[in-house]
Symmetry: D2
Subunit: 338 residues, 4 copies
């Protein structure tokens, strides 16, 4: 049985495990104040060409999202999100548990338009009976594997700055977006256009962990208090530092992402060649082919895929993911089976 249902099926990239082994007996200060965390921060600053960026490490994506949002918003403010956004759908109300409303906007293929966002912000401005929008949350790639172009991102960023709200990009799978064909958004662009974003580790080769990169100083104040209060500060914080130090060194993050995207592209081409429709045409490591239910059943004897949604009575969209651990052989086996 080959599992292709997600990008968090195996452990961590072998170089990460090696680094944990090699450093295991070092004695370091706790709570992320060690030299590995410091080096990981430096490497991220260099990669982003943002020497002043404030970087923190948090074990989970939901944890990173809720900490960032709760840290940025005033009690009467909410965060705008695509209706399909992870914070709106798949975090068990984590944002609301910190007291803030998620203000949803209808998305197309996981993406928001600048116009819709501006409309929401201006409609709810200066009316004390409604929640004030305080932040825009987007994911890159989105939950549907799609990407904002540089033009689209700049438009959202301009709108946020003009209307006085923060822009937060959830990069749980950011590596796959950076490696995608046609992507024209760089880490430098993200630093310049967003106030805060994450560089996902969990789904890009780490055992666990997300890097939070804060480029707007207003959001930096006592962020570590927030991490601690949320229960997200590891005593042995180095475990996160060592992982990101490894991912950021020698382009490992890019190598992992490129590998997974190239296998996904190979599978996508095969799907197109066989005229299998795609629910959404994603350029990243997640694919959403639509199979007949019969075909789904047949594939299920050899592959674990994620059932995404019924498309009709006879057809179902599934999710197929690649990762650092997916082998060309696995991809080829799937291609042969479809």
């Amino acid at each position: 049985m080959i599992r292709l249902n997600s990008d968090y099926l195996e452990g961590g990239h072998p170089l990460i495990l090696e680094a944990l082994m090699a450093t295991n007996l070092q004695q370091t200060p706790g709570y992320g104040e060690d030299s590995h965390c410091a080096e990981a921060v430096r490497l991220i600053q260099v990669k982003c060409r943002a020497p002043g960026a404030d970087v923190h490490f948090i074990p989970t994506g939901t944890g990173a999202n809720k900490t960032i949002i709760a840290s940025a918003l005033k009690p009467y403010e909410g965060v705008i999100s695509a209706d399909t956004g992870h914070i709106n759908v798949h975090e068990t109300g984590a944002v609301e548990s910190t007291g803030h409303k998620v203000l949803t906007v209808k998305a197309i293929d996981g993406k928001l338009t600048c116009q819709d966002v501006e409309k929401l912000i201006t409609e709810q401005a200066d009316n004390e009976h409604t929640v004030k929008p305080g932040m825009l949350y987007i994911s890159q790639p989105t939950e549907m594997g799609t990407l904002y172009s540089l033009y689209e991102l700049r438009c959202l960023s301009d709108a946020c700055r003009r209307l006085g709200i923060y822009l937060f990009m959830d990069g749980a799978r950011l590596g796959y977006g950076l490696a995608a064909p046609g992507n024209d958004v760089s880490l430098e662009d993200i630093c310049r256009l967003c106030d805060v974003f994450t560089i996902g580790g969990t789904k890009v080769g780490a055992l666990f962990g997300e890097a939070v990169v804060i480029t707007n100083k207003a959001l930096s104040t006592r962020f570590r208090y927030m991490i601690k209060q949320q229960g997200l500060m590891l005593a042995k914080g180095r475990i996160l530092g060592i992982q990101f130090e490894t991912l950021m060194r020698d382009n490992l993050y890019e190598t992992i992402s490129g590998h997974a995207v190239s296998l996904a592209r190979r599978i996508r081409q095969a799907l197109l060649d066989k005229n299998i429709p795609l629910l959404v045409d994603s350029p990243t490591n997640q694919l959403f082919p639509v199979f007949s239910n019969e075909k789904c059943l047949q594939l299920a004897s050899c592959f674990v895929l994620e059932t995404w949604q019924a498309v009709s009575d006879q057809e179902t969209a599934v999710r197929v993911c690649t990762s650092w651990a997916t082998t060309p052989e696995q991809a080829d086996a799937f291609i042969a089976a479809i």
Copy 2:
């Protein structure tokens, strides 16, 4: 420089790293629904002789504490704690961030008396202008390294049941308590007398992670929703499962704890032999010797200790910890220096 300031200075026990390596390429379901988590749960149930216990894994101690407490209390309820309790002092208001008051009782050497607890509960019963006590939080060992005896624990448990509140034991360093000379409280006792408790991994050989053991079914309902909402559910949940599987197998948890306690005992004896006073006489892996400030300075050239509190203008209590990674040579070097 030898660091003895805490028990989370190094990485994880070598057997844990080995297990992570050995399982790295296995494909497993996410979010803790894998076979390693299941096996770790089983091993804990066996060790506790509590086959029906509900066991979960959470990355951090503060995370475990706030999730357990927020899950158990109604909005108008609070949790009773020693004024020196970790949740009251060192968690940046994590409990309050979930909406609940920490009701403090003056502690002696980190411990609460049954009488004081009963007094607080009865005083605040049935008065809608005050917070209703809903849970008692104790730590074993306490933040001062001390232990509740079986008699004391039974008394607290009886009071809680009689007065209708839950009893929660924070076992962040539970292994060291179980291994301490004179300890007469077993895991079985804890299962029987508490409604929920934790078995700490972070400070007892894991890279990170705490096991939550729920023995009162009333507290089990949808606990995984709580973990997810708190941002504490790892996508690769197996990382926690593998660690606890390793710790619970072949008595590794007991071996690690015994090793650390025996080195702590050796240091304690040396302190007593040299008539160095102890702020609190702890039987576990944390010691609190009181040195002259001059001596502190002198020790600081070779050892990192944790400054605990000024005892007088001339004297300071420091904390000395041992762990799985402390070597007899390190202990002896410290003994030679004092």
Copy 3:
């Protein structure tokens, strides 16, 4: 200038002010434990034929809503609401401020269908990554002045009970619903079919105040703790008791409601006679005629109406409300002007 923009433009019904005067020097216990509150509770129980109902008084509608919802839900649960529901749109995130998500369902004329509600509940059942629906919130009349029929209410109630969630009816304008032509839902029905509901005072003749009627005992536990914690318990609680005692006595509540609805009906007939379209055809005290922008401007010289929404470039829907204080002369003046 005649204001018809809302039903809270004047003070309280004269009989309420008289009662406050008449009782002013009585000495009573505080916090709602006085004889006026007790009598108001009794009168509501009698009117509802629900001798066991638990009744409380809360100063504001938003306060009542958030207290009821926060009291009923577990931390990981959310409340289902029409997207146009007051708690979703016009309470500045009050529900979310207590930690709970509002799960929205698209409404038609302010109303939800049983089918849509069932679909949402079953879709989000037993998935710890999503918010569990714990309560259904409906308003009667809705924010658009429309009413659920007994058949529709029974269907929603059946679904809630079958699927294990609470049903809460926000009756901020309940009197106008009970008095509406064609209404077939009685207070007794509401008691039987809902777990908790409110009888609005603020918009039906009181200076302020809502009665919360809890018919499901599971929701009664320590509700007064919740009121106090929310900052909604008046020291001179009698002020609420005296108002509801007055409203519930001698059918004053029904008289006020009937008066306002009959004036609204007169205006509605005039609108229909003049072929002025209605955004929604409401049988209660709120009307939503659509005027040309030119007509709106013209009316604005003599009347204050509430701009509801642009219907086209040339037309705007406005809200016209009647209340205890609206006079036939005011209604006729408006009819003459349209």
Copy 4:
């Protein structure tokens, strides 16, 4: 039976009821945006000689306290309070329900010393594992009826400004403090030395309501959003405006306070004359005489007093309050009875 157990036993001062009657048919905008609220704000600004102060009206004391505190603090901040402070003891965890810890300092007769406050702030500065103090809460008069002198208040204010935290004075009974013999703190002083304070209405002649006076602009931003979110914004906001307009006009607030304090002084003198000890010697409208239990029983046949605390096996301290409604005859009857 004469009730002297609190200062909220009757309704409101007759002039307040008259004003409600006189204005009842006026049509005004809702939510506190009417001319009566505006006039009440202006009168308070004049009385405080603080033309720029931002003034809001909130129905309850607990509501005002939690709204002010939640509005001022960041998520990781707490509010310092006397252990006997109302927010710590008698508000059912209202502050914690908004996510913030109450950091307690041992009080003497309800009062804090500048030294103790400074110690707490500096101890918890810059340590992300502890709650950061963000505000100091004091009450004037305190819950024990005592008063801070101008010298003491200035010292606390200086410390707060030096250490960068806000100072909030809860003036639920402020009038009685201003009217007390020996008081040297004026409203102007309070405006200058505090960042925000309340002028209590409920216990000083209103039916209900507290005025919040914000003199530090940093605390003003979108305060109305906070009031609305808390469920504390009345649709007929004028009811609060009319009451404060009346209280602030023609020195009614001072007249009411002076009347109550003078009767309390008469009773206090009688107690001293008869050598009845006082638990605390309060110069305001609350007295705390210590009677033998036998005497308590005897008094109970004619008077309702509030049992405050057992002083010994044979003696109990009770609370005696005066208010606008207390008559000289009632005071004399009590004096005759003791």
